[in-house]
Subunit: 199 residues, 2 copies
């Protein structure tokens, strides 16, 4: 049900998620995860360095997907168009059949402050990597950091929407809608500085 990757890693991952969700992350041991799919703890540790890695293994894959989109964008693309290309590429690695897996993973993370922090760290690392890629393309500051943080924000908002019950649009489609909302929000009004708060 929450299965996504085929093979032993995928079976261990699916079993781990089910156990984390039903018993709690802290209460589940690597041995129990292995046992649930008829394997030994030793086999578990051949596939994952620890049980937390079951939840965060996809991080590099996500960063790489963003970077592929950014690299492939035309040289003269504006920073937010480069971000759009990165988002299209980053979101494309989440096919709809992965939605139940992602939903279960999210519910586990929301129950555990240390995992939430790990997730924040992951998103902050993603933004930093995108910022580096934009600077390497010649985007200056603060544009590179602003665009990179916006990419990470849009991804995060789109992702939470994607795993909502009843949502059936693809992650890429949602992400495009959120990005275009950001563009409308930020660009739609001239920069005004309300008089009631002088510097």
């Amino acid at each position: 049900m929450a299965r996504w990757q085929p093979g032993t890693s995928g079976r261990l991952q699916a079993a781990a998620l089910e156990l984390f969700a039903s018993r709690g992350y802290e209460q589940t041991t690597a041995a129990e995860i292995a046992q649930a799919v008829g394997l030994t703890e030793r086999t578990f540790f051949r596939h994952f360095s620890d049980k937390r890695e079951v939840l965060f293994r996809g991080q590099e894959q996500l960063t790489d997907a963003f970077l592929r989109g950014i690299t492939a964008a035309p040289d003269d693309a504006a920073p937010m168009d480069v971000v759009a290309a990165g988002l299209d590429s980053g979101t494309a690695i989440f096919p709809d059949e992965r939605r139940p897996h992602s939903r279960l993973r999210q519910s586990v993370i929301e129950q555990n402050p240390a995992l939430q922090e790990r997730e924040r760290h992951k998103m902050s690392h993603l933004a930093a990597t995108i910022g580096d890629a934009l600077r390497a393309r010649g985007v200056g500051e603060p544009a590179a950091t602003l665009a990179a943080e916006s990419a990470s924000t849009v991804f995060g908002i789109a992702f939470i929407q994607w795993i909502r019950e009843g949502e059936d649009r693809s992650l890429t489609e949602i992400s495009r809608t959120v990005l275009s909302e950001l563009r409308g929000l930020a660009g739609g009004n001239p920069a005004r500085h309300p008089a009631q708060q002088p510097a």
Copy 2:
């Protein structure tokens, strides 16, 4: 030198920052901080719950300042104008004489991953609180979350610029420049979806 708040708390805070910066955060005890200003450990704990609080006490004050600006913005202000009002108000609590203090604090945080995480948590909490305030004003989703995350991003970028050696603009002035850069970036180009990354 790094003194900002007057009184015993301020003296303890200044001494703590100097010790954290010179000896390292982990290596400094509450007793040593107290001793540096001729006080006892017990006095330290009457002012701070632990040594980490010396670095993070200002969090509520910052959130409240943002909220004051948001609340004072006209009812019909567009979300990003409300954010501009929040930023003006939030940045106004950092007078220029606080710059050396903030610079020293930042150098301590950058040397310690657990403090960096605490800082990320603080910024993420700030964004969540601003998002709540925008929703309470009737701003829908994803606009409220996007605007709130943008506020936190702009503040973070402006802050790092403000404490840079040689920078002499006020935090409010820098924050206005960064926000206007975000508006230009996001709004300056029509939303295009590069063809090389279809969903």
